[in-house]
């Protein structure tokens, strides 16, 4: 049951082979057993989850079920969910119970899915290892001495360890794709604007995008069908006709032009990762794809550009956490300024403070032109590189991350080393393109390797088609961590 696809689970629920309450309870039991070692969840609320499961069973009995009705889905703790503690991985929101539902949560609720719990994450989604969470690091289910990646590390670990049927993540610079790669699961970041950001706690608004994380491309297509769609409450949400992201899954890949950017296979890429990715490319050739060598010359600037723009937006987005209206407030203070300073000093962790300071600096009078404005210009050049590349190819492929999962604490003292783990994913956010990661083998220490697939704008269905055909031909995606 824990290895079933979403379609199989949906069929079993509709056929009354199992009820949603039973299925939810099975997952809750497994979570109770395995989560203490993994720390994938921040908040569990069996009563709430089971109440939703009961409602789903009624819908199933009434024959009013959607693809996801009754299926237990975990939600990254960045999404506000009515009545649920919503912490964003921070002490700052340790007591914040959301009075409203994020768009994504509402869509899952409308579909009748069961919210199984809120997954752990790097504090305010700032991190690539899940070690910045106020609620403790998440362990990689393949090797609990290693990180699951971040910031959607709790979700990635929960999916890999079968602690949920599927889950949500968010991706600002690689926060869906990198943990998906490190945990051996599939994850998709849609084109910017496809999924509403309403109710998703903002890190860097012009880069943040929610997406599905699961065990197969087919599952991701079903999840994205639920998550995507115009929302008038998000001005950057795109008004487009509804599409079925599963519609092209079964198309053959004959003639598919795969672009391989030379910059993604240069120095800095682990040889074990390179091997696995090259093997995946060889598999695609067998499936009829054509390889095209491309170049993304400005992508080498994406990490520095990102670490100007994302902190700039974050420094402003996180100003609302001031201890005045909700969230953490320091217990003792002498006056207003002292209250602000102590609440924020005690409520935020080191990485968040680092980024607030960087962001405040680059927006300051006298530095704005040199940093923020310059970074915006380069951001446009990076996007143009992709536009140029997509004249020659249909999808771009390469490694998701330069290495497999590293050890907990290994990069803790060196933020730049940590930032470089997103070197292949960040450019995609800067350009607003869709990207995904699927498992494509194992590295030197038997840790999973992710293959990154980048699509053109609104190319989600094509990316999912390429991923699904690969998953029909290989079984990397169905491997599960042993010994849990």
């Amino acid at each position: 049951m824990f290895n079933s696809t979403l379609r199989q689970l949906g069929a079993a629920l509709r056929a009354k082979e199992i009820s949603s309450v039973e299925l939810t309870q099975l997952y809750l039991n497994r979570i109770a057993r395995l989560n203490p070692a993994l720390n994938a969840y921040i908040t569990l609320d069996a009563e709430k989850s089971l109440a939703q499961a009961r409602a789903a069973d009624e819908r199933l009995a009434d024959g009013d079920a959607s693809d996801l009705t009754g299926i237990p889905i975990a939600q990254k703790d960045i999404f506000c969910a009515k009545g649920w503690l919503t912490t964003c991985g921070s002490k700052m929101l340790h007591n914040f119970v959301s009075p409203y539902d994020a768009h994504v949560i509402a869509r899952f609720n409308d579909a009748g899915a069961v919210n199984l719990g809120k997954t752990n994450m790097d504090e305010f989604a700032m991190g690539s290892s899940n070690e910045t969470s106020h609620y403790g690091a998440v362990k990689n289910p393949w090797d609990t001495a290693r990180v699951p990646g971040g910031s959607s590390g709790g979700t990635a670990a929960a999916v890999a360890a079968r602690l949920c049927a599927a889950a949500t993540g968010t991706d600002t610079g690689g926060s869906i794709r990198q943990p998906a790669a490190l945990c051996g699961i599939s994850g998709l970041k849609p084109t910017y604007g496809v999924v509403s950001r309403y109710g998703m706690i903002a890190f860097a608004s012009s880069l943040d995008q929610a997406g599905p994380m699961g065990r197969s491309a087919e599952d991701l297509a079903l999840l994205l069908n639920t998550m995507a769609g115009f929302d008038e409450r998000d001005s950057t949400s795109l008004q487009r006709d509804k599409e079925d992201y599963a519609r092209d899954l079964n198309k053959p890949l004959n003639g598919l032009r795969i672009g391989l950017p030379q910059e993604f296979f240069a120095a800095g890429l682990g040889s074990d990762v390179a091997q696995a990715v090259e093997a995946a490319i060889a598999e695609y050739k067998k499936l009829g794809a054509v390889i095209v060598d491309i170049s993304l010359p400005n992508s080498r600037l994406s990490v520095p550009v990102y670490y100007v723009l994302a902190p700039a937006e974050a420094s402003s987005n996180l100003s609302r956490f001031d201890g005045v209206r909700y969230g953490y407030r320091a217990p003792d203070y002498t006056d207003l300024t002292d209250m602000y300073e102590k609440s924020r000093a005690q409520g935020f962790g080191a990485e968040v403070k680092r980024r607030i300071m960087i962001g405040t600096y680059v927006l300051s009078h006298g530095y704005y032109d040199a940093y923020y404005l310059q970074a915006q210009k380069i951001r446009r050049l990076i996007a143009q590189d992709f536009t140029e590349a997509f004249r020659q190819c249909d999808v771009i492929m390469g490694p998701t991350a330069p290495s497999t999962a590293f050890k907990l604490g290994e990069k803790g003292d060196d933020p730049v080393q940590m930032y470089l783990s997103d070197i292949y994913t960040i450019a995609v956010n800067l350009a607003g393109l869709p990207g995904m990661s699927i498992p494509c083998g194992f590295g030197a220490n038997n840790m999973p390797v992710g293959l990154q697939i980048i699509g053109n704008y609104f190319g989600e269905a094509r990316m999912l088609n390429a991923a699904h055909q690969y998953q029909l031909a290989t079984d990397w995606h169905s491997r599960a961590p042993q010994g849990l």
Binding site: T86, L93, A202, H365
Partner: protein, 492 residues
């Protein structure tokens, strides 16, 4: 040696939308604290702004009414600073690309006209309120006002006296109400002025300015500028220098006092708000809004002078507000449409004559009574058509001017129809020439001595005869007719 005073104004006009600029919460004034603060007003985690089109339309209206440039593309920016009544820790405003640029308005100071240039007008959200009283040393926060739409209107430093600054503020105040974008209620803070004041020797470069914040009445605006100008001149003449600063006006003391210097000014770290798309205004949208603009005060004034031969100052008084102009035009129209001839001629008086008569009444009797009762013209208990009904009975000779005033007072207090009041109060005047002649003959016969005195040159006695005749007619003789007949007979 003289000093030249240089003043520029920044006016915050609260736009009259029923919901806030970036969310659906109500903007109504005076509700219980925080009852109009939804998730967006509270800046809960995860909420996003959505621009209110009505606020944009009001900004476009203002731009069109001031002959300004409406930016086809403008950008919302975040102005970052911490304050408890600023829930997001930033204010959404516009910075380098405002929606309105380069407009102008004409002001009247005495009998002199002057053009004041408007640098820009931009859309932004208001903050909430910090309440420092009633909380025993703590501060209460009311976020009802947070997110209320404002249009910040920035003038060039074109004004040269407090009187000009007040005239500009008043003209702007009239205009924003006229075009229906702001209720202009200064007590509720719907129209607030900041004044940038500096002084210089004529011909010298601009002096260092100080900004007086948050002036919420025209009187305070004038007092604050006057005080500030004297202070700056005194400082300079005593060998001091002016530091750029923001000051507050204390109306009780009539003084300005320092709030912060330039060195203490915030670095607002403006940057484009990534939650909002650039605001694009098409020609089509602009033209749709233009079609909703009413005739503007200056166009109306020009028309009153050209078509009704009113004086510029009367035309100005009648266009003090749109309601005032509507009232005036309503009365004139009602008179014209009824086509009443005069007592002596069936020819209908000219529009000019009607307009002059209505103008006298509106700027005289009507305005005086409104002032006495502290009402504005929109609350006038007498409707324009009703005033027309009174005036037409003067024109056709039914009542005298003083009779008309009595009808007016009665109608004001009790309502009712003009003719019914004339009937009930027995105000119809006697316009029967034969009867008046007979009455005059009797008086002349009974006062031979006085008649002789009058005829020997004692003109002042004329009033004496009018009085007697009026008394004899029980006040009902048509005064104009009575005068004519008396004069003729006495001189005869």
């Amino acid at each position: 040696m003289t000093w030249e005073i240089v003043i520029g104004l920044e006016v915050h006009a609260q736009l009259s939308t029923s919901s806030k600029i970036f969310c659906g919460a109500s903007t109504a004034f005076g509700a219980e604290p925080n009852t109009q603060a939804d998730a967006v007003s509270l800046a809960l985690p995860g909420v996003l702004p959505v621009l209110n089109k009505g606020a944009v339309e009001r900004a476009i209206k203002f731009g069109l009414a001031t002959g300004a440039h409406i930016a086809p593309r403008s950008v919302f920016a975040r102005k970052n600073y911490f304050y408890p009544d600023l829930p997001k820790g930033y204010q959404i405003s516009q910075f380098d690309l405002p929606v309105v640029g380069n407009g102008q308005i004409t002001i009247q100071v005495g009998d002199k006209e002057k053009v004041v240039r408007i640098t820009r007008a931009h859309l932004e959200e208001d903050a909430g309120k910090s309440l420092h009283e009633d909380f025993h040393g703590m501060t209460g926060i009311d976020l009802n006002r947070a997110g209320t739409p404002l249009l910040e209107i920035v003038s060039e430093p074109d004004m040269r006296s407090a009187a000009e600054a007040v005239a500009y503020a008043k003209t702007l105040h009239t205009l924003v109400r006229w075009i229906g974008i702001c209720d202009g209620n200064m007590q509720e803070g719907s129209f607030r002025c900041d004044a940038n004041v500096s002084v210089r020797r004529p011909g010298a470069p601009l002096g260092t300015r100080r900004e007086i914040k948050n002036l919420n009445s025209f009187r305070f605006l004038e007092q604050a500028i006057d005080y500030e100008v004297h202070w700056q001149i005194d400082t300079l003449e005593n060998g001091g220098t002016i530091q750029q600063a923001t000051v507050l006006f204390d109306p009780d003391k009539g003084e300005t006092r320092m709030m912060r210097t330039k060195e203490e000014a915030h670095d607002y770290r403006y940057f484009p708000d990534p939650d909002l798309l650039p605001l694009n205004i098409s020609e089509e949208w602009k033209e749709q809004v233009r079609a909703t603009l009413p005739e503007l005060p200056q166009a109306k004034q020009a028309r009153y002078v050209a078509n009704y031969a009113l004086s510029p100052s009367d035309a100005g008084a009648l266009t003090a507000s749109r309601e005032m102009a509507d009232f005036f035009e309503g009365s004139v129209k009602s008179l014209l449409s009824q086509g009443i001839g005069t007592l002596t001629s069936s020819a209908i008086p000219s529009a000019e004559a009607y307009a002059a008569q209505v103008c006298n009444w509106v700027t005289g009797e009507v305005s005086a009574q409104l002032n006495r009762e502290g009402l504005d013209i929109a609350q006038c208990p007498i409707k324009p058509e009703q005033l027309g009904d009174i005036l037409k009975r003067i024109t056709d000779g039914t009542i005298s001017n003083s009779g008309a005033k009595e009808v007016f007072r009665t109608m004001w207090a009790e309502g009712g129809d003009a003719d019914a009041i004339i009937e009930a109060k027995d105000l119809k005047q006697n316009s029967d020439a034969g009867a008046i002649e007979a009455l005059v003959d009797e008086i002349i016969a009974a006062n031979a001595e006085k008649v002789a005195e009058y005829r020997s040159g004692k003109d002042k006695l004329f009033g004496f005869f009018v009085g007697l005749a009026m008394k004899a007619s029980k006040g009902k003789a048509n005064p104009a007719q009575l005068n004519d007949i008396l004069k003729r007979k006495l001189n005869g």
